[in-house]
Symmetry: C2
Subunit: 277 residues, 2 copies
Amino acid sequence: MEKNPDTSLIIIGGAEDKEHDKEILKFIVSLVDVSKDQIVVATVASEEPKKAREKYNKVFKELGVANIKTLNIDKRLDAFDQKNIELIKTADLIFFTGGDQLRITSILGGTPIYDEMKRASKRECYFVGTSAGASVMSTTMIIGGKDEDSPRKCTIKMAPGLGLIDEVIIDQHFSQRGRIGRLLAAVAQNPQILGIGIDEDTAIVVNKENKLKVIGNGSVYIVDGSEITYSNVSEQFSDEILSMYNVKVHVLTKNKMFDLTAKVHFEEAKEKNENNK
Amino acid sequence: MEKNPDTSLIIIGGAEDKEHDKEILKFIVSLVDVSKDQIVVATVASEEPKKAREKYNKVFKELGVANIKTLNIDKRLDAFDQKNIELIKTADLIFFTGGDQLRITSILGGTPIYDEMKRASKRECYFVGTSAGASVMSTTMIIGGKDEDSPRKCTIKMAPGLGLIDEVIIDQHFSQRGRIGRLLAAVAQNPQILGIGIDEDTAIVVNKENKLKVIGNGSVYIVDGSEITYSNVSEQFSDEILSMYNVKVHVLTKNKMFDLTAKVHFEEAKEKNENNK
């Protein structure tokens, strides 16, 4: 399989449509040769892996995929199993389902399968994650925080993620669960990191040049704290509500693009380019 | 200045001796040409930057350093100041004092000075950090957690750090504050990450090949979770005490070496090498 240079990671905000237009899943399937390429559904995040497996097997089969495998790891010992390692070796696309992102890292971290995944990310294998599978993609990930709350340092919890994408932090079910407060709290702790909040049934497609494009039916928030002039995040009382000035927020919908390295949206990049001519 | 290939980062567990043998600070000074190389003392972590500045200026002067500058940034706007950026451009060694690691990232993250530091880390400039300045070195850092407690998920707090060293997490004042529990809790969340607990008046010297050597008067704990066969870190109740099986712990003292990539101590590496002959 030859990898599409425009696609490297697909990160979904959870609850992607599986019944109607199936826009996101159809896009994913369009990346592979359905007659032979191997899709591996990794259910490691889920407490109910059987349910997750059945759901995704059904929809991928409906979309014509012939070769669907399940990576069914629910304890660390399974991650040392040669049969499971082989699945990753031969994978053309790995799809992380939802559940708990901490299950993924605490079960796979430091195992041979993790190393095999790192190798897979460097060859022609696509990585896709939804919900917990989305959060886990970044180097530092959000693992908990209060929904529908003001930004507060005390409620946000982070941990080291899979590291497939650097200098961003991803939140999912974003509008649906009112998570702008917790994403702001994360970004304020280190504004070098760009916050990405992805709605349900919405995804970002990230290419090799670290540019993203939005697909699906909701919105994607980009929270850029690099121009924050003041925040009280490192001050004494951790249950205080955070104040911060000058956060830049972009809201992108279908087909909008954003350059994660330059921290500019596509129109701005085009303009700059033209000014440089 | 030509950088010593054996040294890239010096990470100190806090409270390095400044009165008696001054082993760690003498080592640091030995890296530079005291007659002209510029040491920049970055007091950004500290709530009392004046005290920190005076303390380090005094001891570096006693050790013969002629060119000592202070990077005195206590709000984000200072990190956009050209004068401060110039200090980093001309630095031969940057020394981060103690305080609160979250001050460093929340004030410097996403600013031009952060970019300048990244450039400095790629040229012949040494980075040194003590206490909070030690924690901040890694890609994901510990920002809080209960001392002298069993490992518990609910108490450990992490955030994105400066990213000068990857796939490790650093804790300081390690034996003095009883921090093995919180370091274990961090490692269990993603055993890909090696935990490094550094005692007071003790430091690790990390070279370009990601090998460390211990200096100073205490011990350095290495917590390797890669062979953990089971942990309950992703299970339901976050105030439960963690259980985990099969964590590998190394305790290193002065002159001991450890390969952070291969996750083996020096003697083991030598043995493997000889077996391969």
